[in-house]
């Protein structure tokens, strides 16, 4: 009863699913673009397409388990392409997937403003978790760069509006 009161429209409680092809191809394309484009355009590495895809799936499905599992898998694949220990991105994206899907059941995630905030906010969460794990568990000597992270978070927030709008086409009502 309380849950019903907290929602303001049908759109907010809508749960979506994706075709098996979209489930595989969208993350794969995101990872491929993430590793391929920075070779030609180095600045592109400030974007985190796999993170945005994780967020999109999490808020669209509104299932915490599926959100965290999607994050874990995408993160581990990303880890495998770096030279660092496996699990850094995996842990960060697991937390992000869980958090985004938890948020997805509470707020309207369909308008561009909330998508910007989701992209912006969860980029900070992702970087913070990554930083903590990398420094305290993996023992890497990373330096936290406030301004850079702020700029990257803003860039990812803006890109989230575009990416989410494109990916909306592949959503199917559950």
């Amino acid at each position: 009863m309380n849950v019903a009161v907290s929602y303001t429209s049908r759109e907010e409680i809508e749960v979506y699913r994706f075709s098996p092809l979209a489930n595989v191809l969208i993350p794969l394309l995101a990872i491929l673009a993430q590793v391929f484009i920075p070779v030609r355009l180095r600045f592109f590495s400030v974007f985190d397409l796999p993170l945005l895809v994780t967020l999109f799936f999490a808020v669209a499905r509104r299932s915490q388990v599926s959100g965290l599992m999607t994050g874990a898998i995408i993160g581990l694949v990303q880890d495998a392409l770096t030279h660092q220990p496996l699990g850094l991105y995996g842990i960060a994206k697991t937390v992000v997937g869980y958090g985004a899907s938890s948020l997805g059941v509470k707020i309207d995630v369909e308008n561009p403003g909330s998508r910007l905030l989701i992209g912006f906010g969860f980029y900070w969460v992702h970087q913070a978790v990554y930083f903590l794990v990398a420094r305290n568990i993996a023992g890497l000597s990373l330096e936290w760069r406030w301004l850079h992270t702020l700029g990257a978070a803003l860039a990812n927030g803006l890109l989230a509006i575009v990416i989410f709008a494109v990916l909306d086409r592949y959503k199917q009502r559950a």
Partner: protein, 434 residues
């Protein structure tokens, strides 16, 4: 208990997934994998991703080739004229540098100076990156099947790029010099101060462990010292951008890498080097590590030699002279000269008469592996037909053994002459089969 797990199912799954990953991470940190070994998940992911990257690279390359070679030709004539002028200027410069190089080699031989020579390289194409700012990794399209092994040096026409970190069947991971875990033995060209080149999390490159009482000027060039046993000595590393006192006893020297790490498309992997004393009798000497940059550009396309070049090869005495009649200079040569200019290091032998210029042209299919023969053993010999020899075995091919190049100890190039006559001794790098 069961009720609690059901009630907090989502949280339980989250904790379980995080726990597994943290344990896995801890195990990796505790027992780091040996150099060269690769975990199964990494192997699977790289094996799945690299073929896709490879096809993406081929497609984009094809489109760009079509666009730049057939559609967008604006300003090509003007550029061609400018390049020809540049070639003329550089030829004069080459002769001067040749004399310096010969003199240096004679002095080296007197001192029984040992130098590292690159004997084998493999040209590779950059097909991907880690996609992460925290891990400055490149993927190249050559792997163990092409003889790549961990800890091999990777260079580009501009300078050093990094070292091979992990090797897969048909691809390899290259750790860039700008990565924070990277370290390269380097030496300041002018002051001869040694230090270690290190990357950082932000991608900046710094030269460390130079004492703060030393004088280092911005703009000074940095080359490899060879002390790390990965990069041969003398390869361009970069230029000093700024020098500031560090927090401890050492200077904080920021370096601009000589290689454009943001725009790498093709690289060379040094698969074999030898250490050898320079012989004074080798007028042009074996090819030094630094020279290889200018010689084996992967962009030199595999191409059938023109008839004139073949004729040149067949007629040793006229070999170098024949192509002289060809108007213009092929793009491959221009690229090579640009690279020489970029490295700032004079190739082993530069008294290249216009006649001896190779008839190479455009870039090769990047997938072609190249294994250079021991260039240090290749004697510069006019009888092999300077132009013909290169055009017969351009980069991107595995050269067949040359027909016995008569080891006539060629006379040193005329020191005083600014334009050696056609048919004179071609440079070592042009005689070297690729």
């Amino acid at each position: 208990m069961e009720n609690v797990l059901t009630r907090y199912r989502n949280t339980t799954v989250l904790v379980a997934v995080l726990f597994v990953q943290i344990i896995g991470l801890a195990v990796q940190v505790k027992k780091p994998t040996e150099a060269g070994s690769t975990s199964l998940i990494r192997y699977w992911v790289v094996s799945a991703i690299t073929p896709l990257e490879r096809s993406a690279v081929s497609t984009s390359r094809g489109i760009r080739y079509l666009w730049s070679n057939y559609l967008y030709l604006r300003g090509v004539r003007a550029e061609n004229r400018a390049l020809k002028d540049q070639i003329d200027r550089m030829r004069i410069e080459e002769v001067r540098l040749q004399q310096d190089a010969d003199q240096a080699r004679r002095l080296q031989s007197l001192l029984a100076f040992k130098e590292q020579f690159i004997t084998e390289t493999v040209a590779a194409q950059v097909i991907g990156s880690s996609g992460s700012e925290q891990s400055r990794i490149l993927y190249i399209d050559k792997g163990s099947s092409e003889g790549i092994a961990p800890d091999m040096a990777v260079i580009s026409p501009g300078g050093i790029v990094g070292k091979v970190l992990r090797v897969f069947g048909s691809s390899s991971q290259v750790l860039e010099i700008s990565d924070q875990t990277s370290g390269v033995g380097a030496i300041l060209d002018k002051s001869r101060l040694q230090g270690i080149l290190k990357g950082s999390a932000s991608g900046d490159v710094t030269l460390q462990y130079v004492m703060s009482d030393e004088k280092v000027e911005p703009g000074e060039r940095i080359i490899t010292s060879g002390g790390d046993r990965i990069f041969p000595k003398g390869l361009p590393v970069g230029t000093v951008i700024s020098v500031n006192p560090g927090r401890d006893l050492f200077l904080n020297i920021r370096v601009k890498p000589a290689a454009d790490l943001a725009r790498l498309e093709e690289v060379l992997v040094i698969t074999k080097t030898v250490e050898k004393t320079v012989e004074a009798t080798e007028a042009s000497g074996p090819v030094r590590a630094a020279d290889i940059l200018a010689q084996r550009l992967p962009t030199v396309k595999k191409q059938e030699p023109p008839e004139s070049a073949k004729a040149g090869a067949a007629r040793p005495s006229a070999g170098a002279a024949a192509p002289a009649a060809r108007p213009g200079v092929p793009s491959g040569v221009a690229a090579g000269q640009q690279a020489q200019s970029a490295t700032g290091i004079a190739p082993a032998a530069h008294a290249v008469p216009p006649a001896a210029r190779p008839a190479t042209a455009a870039p090769p299919p990047a997938s072609t592996a190249t294994t250079a023969p021991p260039v240090s053993q290749v004697k510069p010999d006019a009888s092999t037909g300077g132009a013909g020899s290169q055009s017969q075995a351009p980069a991107g091919t595995t050269p067949a053994p040359k027909t016995p190049a008569p080891k006539t100890k060629a006379a040193p190039p005329p020191a005083a002459s600014s334009q050696p006559p056609a048919g004179s001794q071609p440079p070592a790098h042009e005689a070297a089969p690729r």
